[in-house]
């Protein structure tokens, strides 16, 4: 699944919260009412506890136990075997490549969207299309790419029959890790549009005017003014894309059926073949490894995000 793809009805809602914050609620709440209010939180708290906190803890904790329930670090040290390291390596490579391509192409679209009217037809269509395509990851995306660049895919056949180019001359890479890059880019670009557009459109027109008035060229404006301002947002979006690809499972699951070259597939294999492989709790250790990566990436993202939001006010 992809992240943060909901087109928020308003992009600049955050700042308003500061202004309309009901710092003093209606009347000063009595202690009794405050207790009631806290009590009102319990259903949601319980829900989040059982279906978010508990599974997360279970996922991570099982990695530290052996099959017979004793504490062990075997599974966690198992993360450092060559196979698993290679798996994390492929995951990093795939996430990195698809994130960079997605970020650059997505930023290009955002640039093209500069100056279009908010709520205008073009904007609404592109934003909706981006939302749909960012959600498109998964089984259906795998279908689309099998139909496009599968062995008998539309593009494969046209390239082969019309241009004499055999894209699979060295073997069919679609069903291996390199084959995931194109499908991943397909949902990374739209995610970039969704996350980066608000930052780019927040560039103040006045800055461009000021630069122009002072005789600056367009290039100078981009280089000295716009680029430094949007850089944190760009990097932040890049990280989000990385995290998005890193945690994506469905597309890979539908495309790759031999071996487990990336971490989510390795988790699936560990879950499915635990009886055969006798590695009951390896999935937990892999989950732990994945969470560590995600926490680092998302932490960096939030740091960059807070730098960005300064300019969006």
């Amino acid at each position: 699944m992809s992240l943060a793809t909901a087109p928020a009805p308003e992009q600049d809602g955050v700042e308003h919260s500061a202004r309309h914050h009901p710092r003093v609620a209606l009347v000063k709440p009595s202690n009794r009412r405050r207790r009631l209010a806290y009590a009102g939180l319990t259903p949601f708290a319980a829900y989040v506890l059982i279906f978010l906190a508990l599974p997360t803890i279970l996922a991570v904790v099982t990695g530290f136990f052996s099959d017979d329930g004793t504490l062990t670090f075997d599974n966690v040290t198992g993360l450092f075997t060559p196979t698993i390291i290679a798996t994390f390596g492929s995951s990093f490579w795939l996430s990195g490549v698809s994130a960079v391509i997605g970020a650059v192409v997505g930023a290009l679209i955002c640039y093209a969207m500069l100056g279009t009217r908010v709520g205008g037809v073009l904007r609404t269509i592109i934003e909706s299309a981006a939302s749909v395509l960012a959600q498109f990851g998964g089984v259906m995306l795998a279908f689309a790419f099998i139909a496009t660049i599968g062995v008998q895919g539309l593009v494969t056949v046209i390239l082969r029959d019309t241009f004499g180019v055999d894209i699979f001359a060295d073997g069919v890479w679609l069903y291996q890790v390199p084959g995931l890059v194109l499908p991943y880019v397909y949902f990374q670009v739209p995610l970039m549009v969704i996350t980066f557009l608000p930052a780019l459109t927040a560039l103040r027109p006045q800055w461009a005017e000021a630069s122009a008035t002072l005789g600056g060229t367009r290039f100078a404006y981009w280089r000295h003014i716009a680029a430094p301002v949007v850089a944190p947002a760009f990097l932040g979006s890049l990280l989000l894309l990385f995290a998005n690809a890193f945690s994506s499972f469905a597309t890979a699951a539908a495309l790759i059926s031999q071996g487990s070259q990336i971490v989510p597939l390795q988790i699936r294999a560990a879950l499915v073949s635990e009886t055969v492989l006798g590695r009951e709790n390896m999935a937990g250790a892999l989950a732990l490894g994945m969470i560590v990566v995600m926490v680092v990436v998302m932490w960096a993202y939030s740091v960059l995000q807070s730098r960005t939001s300064r300019w969006q006010r």
Binding site: Y111, G115, A243
Partner: protein, 292 residues
């Protein structure tokens, strides 16, 4: 070419006549020319259309024979399709039930909590936001490792019906639903409204029901639609918990009848586009209302 020719003129214009609304399409230094814009959007758009076109073309293929047929489409409506696609239709039903229950969770658990925090416990706002964003950091594939033991208990308590999976989906939609509702919540002048109401002697429950909720309609709708879109597209959790939903059934059908699987994928794609187009409209409607 065109950029360098027209840019100075427009730049001069905008610099001197900058009283226009900021969102009007006037070209200033930062913007691409119309031609550049069309080129970029046109080329990338075309590339992004190719897989969709390939999917459509695929549904008319006649297997190894290499010619075209409409039988995959007409076969959907034939008599014996009912038995063949029984599992698929059942799975679509499951996904719709899951979408409905997930929306229920958003409306009955998340929404009241958000309103409560917004009105009564603003100090917890950051915490709530943090909690609602966590599912992005804990991907479904990780969550499912821990969900398996949780569900073995849930099933004992509630039975193994389809809808129980919605508890997990409620978590996966949390970031999206939160964002949709929160931006609406932030846009309403809660303080003004509730002060006005309480001056007139209304309790906060009354404020909630008669003033706040009607004003939250758009955010709630957007949250519901995005939840539906996410649930209809969910594969990871269902697949690894061996539940049947639209996506797992599509994968299953694709292994015996890839054409029908692609046809249904196209339908799902179209449905998602419509849902999100509506959200987009809702969003811009809220926006323009607020601006006015």
């Amino acid at each position: 070419m065109s950029a360098s020719r027209t840019a100075p003129v427009q730049r001069g214009e905008t610099a001197s006549t900058r009283a226009k609304p900021a969102n009007q399409a006037v070209r200033i230094g930062a913007e691409p020319s119309a031609l550049t814009r069309r080129l970029i959007l046109g080329i990338i758009g075309a590339i992004f259309l190719i897989p969709v076109i390939a999917m459509i073309e695929f549904t008319f293929r006649n297997g190894l024979a290499g010619d075209y047929t409409v039988s995959h489409w007409t076969g959907l409506f034939s008599e014996d399709s009912a038995r063949t696609y029984r599992g698929l239709y059942q799975a679509i039903g499951n996904s719709l039930v899951l979408a409905a229950v997930t929306v229920g969770i958003v409306l009955l658990l998340l929404l009241p909590t958000m309103v409560l925090v917004h009105m009564q416990l603003p100090r917890l706002k950051r915490t709530l936001e943090f909690i609602c964003i966590i599912p992005i950091t804990v991907p479904a594939i990780v969550l499912v490792v821990g969900l398996a033991p949780v569900y073995s208990v849930v099933v004992k308590v509630l039975g193994g019906s389809t809808w129980t999976l919605a508890f997990a989906y409620g978590i996966t939609v949390l970031p999206y639903a939160y964002r949709a509702i929160q931006s609406n919540l932030d846009a309403i002048p809660v303080k003004t409204l509730s002060e006005a109401a309480s001056t007139l002697g209304a309790g906060w429950m009354t404020v909630l029901w008669t003033i706040l909720l009607p004003n939250l309609r758009r955010g709630v709708l957007a949250a519901s639609f995005i939840s539906i879109a996410v649930v209809l597209g969910e594969f990871t959790i269902a697949s690894l918990l061996n539940r049947r939903n639209l996506q797992t059934a599509l994968l299953q059908v694709s292994q015996s009848d890839p054409w029908v699987a692609v046809i249904f994928a196209l339908f799902a794609l179209a449905l998602a586009f419509v849902l999100l187009l509506i959200i987009g409209r809702l969003g811009s409607a809220t926006l323009s209302r607020r601006k006015s």
